[in-house]
């Protein structure tokens, strides 16, 4: 373990934060200098996330600890010591989420360079983007409840500012207000829950809290607040209504980052359910709560997507429905955790693998729809048509993202959904039926979008469009490659990056606690 990987958890947060503060200053020197700086930062972040992931996955279940302002303690502690400083604790799941955030940050930044070239406010745009990235990394890497809340709020503020970034657009302002209000509400309830836990146990560290948690009535109230607040921030139906507004109104590359942000909230939810509470709660009940939320999310998201005529909003509802698959996979795993059958782990592998696949596919779809909207000058599907004649590559990329998200073999979406279908079928065939049916409907949704936007005869409106510049094509190509490679070799990726993540939740609670407090 080199010095770089030792400091990787904090560098992943500090470097984007540094970029966020430096961008407005560096931006005065010119766009090229600014873009170089941001490009270097996201590349460094991606490299560090990969290094950290390699390191953590190689440690076979032992989390990496990083102490802020350290030098006093050596971990694991011994003899009844408790950590007093803020800790970052990176286990398989955190490292996995870091990979997702790095993928989206990398592609989102490079897509934005071209996408936001002609528009004003680029400095603030990239500043907020980097702050959002830092917040997402903070949420997934931290090992401290209050720190988690702080990063949650950083992502909330940055995300809402990005949603309402286009101040000349009235819907954008409306969405910004709604998103900020809902995010704040959820954040405050999370803080209340953290206060309840702190009041009882006097700790804020997740591992220490998990070690002493009892499952009392107050704990249950805290759990309810955390569960609902984080599920809302992830966009679970029936608390999803802000999500299509936000994804639909944010600038296209930022919609992808917002999806990564929702997944980070989902990660927080899983971390709290599996690691913080773990066996002290009735896992069956919690699992079924997640499953019910998941089924609602899948079904309502897909059916609402079917009737949208705004391209971004259609993709946004599709993205909402995919959150349901992750909830379903992990919910099935949680529901059967007491008995620990083999298919519980398979379900969690599916749900967690789907996070990565969803980030890649939804990211590609948002990028492609951003390019389409920029070229066509409208978001209304009823005004588009025949764009495929001129925008061949964009249409191909959109089609690949769509079929992959809808779970058509041999793309990556099928690989993860296959695991979810099979495992949820074992719990109850009804779950699998809803999941498969909704996937088919999702394909229908994207057939509608594809047909309306790209197919049809050449028209005057579509005569002068063209494929976007190489700067926008390259990130899309990268995501297409991710989709195809993950689709063709799912066995390799499930074994090497998904299973450590799933195992960290499934039976990694003791390792998580012991890494801090000692066995």
């Amino acid at each position: 373990m080199t010095a770089l990987t030792t400091h990787a958890p904090i560098l992943l947060i500090a470097l984007p934060l540094l970029g966020a503060f430096a961008t407005p200053l560096v931006g005065k020197l010119g766009r090229g200098v600014r873009n170089t700086l941001i490009g270097l930062i996201v590349l460094a972040v991606a490299g560090l996330a990969a290094l950290l992931a390699v390191d953590v996955f190689a440690a076979s279940g032992v989390p990496t600890i990083y102490e802020l302002g350290g030098g006093t303690f050596t971990f694991p502690l011994s003899g009844g010591q408790v950590p007093i400083r803020i800790l970052f604790e990176v286990d398989g799941m955190s490292a996995f989420m870091g990979l997702i955030a790095a993928l989206i940050a990398l592609t989102g930044a490079f897509f934005s360079f071209s996408y936001w070239k002609e528009r004003s406010g680029g400095n603030l745009y990239f500043s907020l983007f980097l702050m959002l990235t830092a917040g997402i990394f903070g949420m997934v890497l931290t090992g401290d409840m209050f720190n988690f809340f702080v990063f949650l709020e950083i992502t909330s503020i940055a995300a809402a500012s990005l949603v309402g970034f286009r101040i000349w657009r009235k819907q954008s302002q409306e969405a910004g207000f709604k998103v900020m209000a809902m995010y704040t509400l959820s954040g405050l309830f999370v803080l209340l829950a953290i206060g309840l836990l702190y009041g009882q146990y006097g700790h804020l560290n997740i591992a220490t809290l998990a070690n002493s948690i009892q499952g009392s009535l107050t704990d249950m109230i805290a759990l309810g607040l955390l569960l609902t607040g984080l599920a809302m921030k992830a966009g679970a139906v029936p608390m999803h209504m802000w999500a299509p507004d936000a994804y639909g109104e944010a600038p296209a590359p930022m919609s992808a980052v917002l999806v990564a942000n929702s997944q980070a909230s989902l990660y927080g939810l899983f971390r709290i359910l599996f690691t913080l509470f773990g066996v002290t709660i009735s896992t069956g009940t919690m699992g079924w709560i997640l499953i019910v939320l998941a089924l609602l999310t899948i079904f309502v998201g897909v059916t609402m997507a079917l009737i949208q005529s705004d391209l971004k909003r259609l993709v946004a509802f599709g993205a909402v429905s995919q959150i349901g698959y992750m909830l379903l996979g992990v919910g099935v795993g949680l529901a059967v955790m007491a008995a620990r059958p083999e298919y519980g782990l398979v379900a969690m592998q599916g749900g967690i693998f789907h996070m990565l696949n969803d980030a890649a596919c939804v990211g590609l779809l948002f990028f492609a729809s951003g390019a389409v909207i920029q070229a066509a000058g409208t978001r209304d599907l009823n005004q588009m048509g025949g764009l495929g004649h001129q925008m061949k590559w964009t249409s191909i990329f959109f089609a690949i993202g769509a079929v992959a998200l809808a779970g058509v073999p041999p793309f990556n979406g099928f690989a993860s959904k296959f695991l979810i279908y099979e495992a949820s079928f074992k719990l109850s065939p009804f779950l699998a039926v809803i999941a498969v049916l909704s996937s088919i409907m999702l394909l229908a949704v994207f057939v509608k979008a594809f047909q309306a936007a790209f197919l049809g005869p050449r028209s005057n409106a579509s005569a002068h469009v063209s494929d976007p510049s190489p700067g926008m094509m390259l990130p899309m190509v990268a995501l297409v490659l991710v989709i195809i490679v993950f689709g063709l070799f799912p066995g390799f990726f499930v074994d090497h990056i998904v299973t450590p993540a799933a195992k960290a939740l499934w039976d990694g609670r003791d390792a998580y606690i012991n890494a801090v407090l000692g066995g």
Partner: protein, 158 residues
């Protein structure tokens, strides 16, 4: 009656107190490591003096005196210096306080355990971070106040 400030009583009192408010704000920042307060609180106090000026004298007197770009640049400098101070200790760990108890003249004094009379030259990086945060907060909140004022007054003229 817009942007023209308030009555002569308010203006006169403002002239008396705003300097003291700023002074108090800087005191709070400077003694953040010894007394209640710190960078954010002191910065907010300074910014409140600024807001008081705006309320009392109206925003018409603002033109030509304050450059928003400069305010925002100073804010970024404050944030960057905070991060730079945090990076100083990266040899041990991020946020490692490498000046504390170093014996150096820069806040390196050691503090006896328990109640004491307050050692100003102690605290290591903490007072410096307080300054960085104070700089960021005073300029940041001032900028927010100005921007909101501009935004809302534009609306009235439209």
């Amino acid at each position: 009656m817009k942007n023209e400030g308030m009555t002569v009583i308010v203006r006169t009192v403002t002239r008396f107190v705003y300097g003291m408010i700023i002074l108090f704000g800087f005191y709070v920042i400077m003694h953040g490591h010894l007394t209640p307060g710190g960078g954010f609180q002191g910065g907010a106090v300074v910014a409140s003096a600024f807001a008081l000026l705006l309320v009392a004298f109206g925003s018409s007197g603002l033109k030509g005196h304050v450059n928003l770009h400069w305010l925002q640049s100073i804010e970024e400098v404050g944030a960057l210096s905070f991060l730079a101070l945090a990076f100083l200790g990266i040899g041990t760990a991020f946020f490692y306080n490498l000046l504390a108890n170093s014996g150096g003249f820069l806040f390196g004094a050691s503090v006896p355990a328990g109640p004491n009379a307050g050692v100003f030259a102690a605290g290591g990086l903490v007072p410096l971070m307080n300054w960085a945060v104070g700089l960021k907060v005073m300029t940041g909140i001032s900028a927010v106040v100005i921007i909101m004022l501009i935004g809302s007054s534009k609306e009235e003229t439209e």
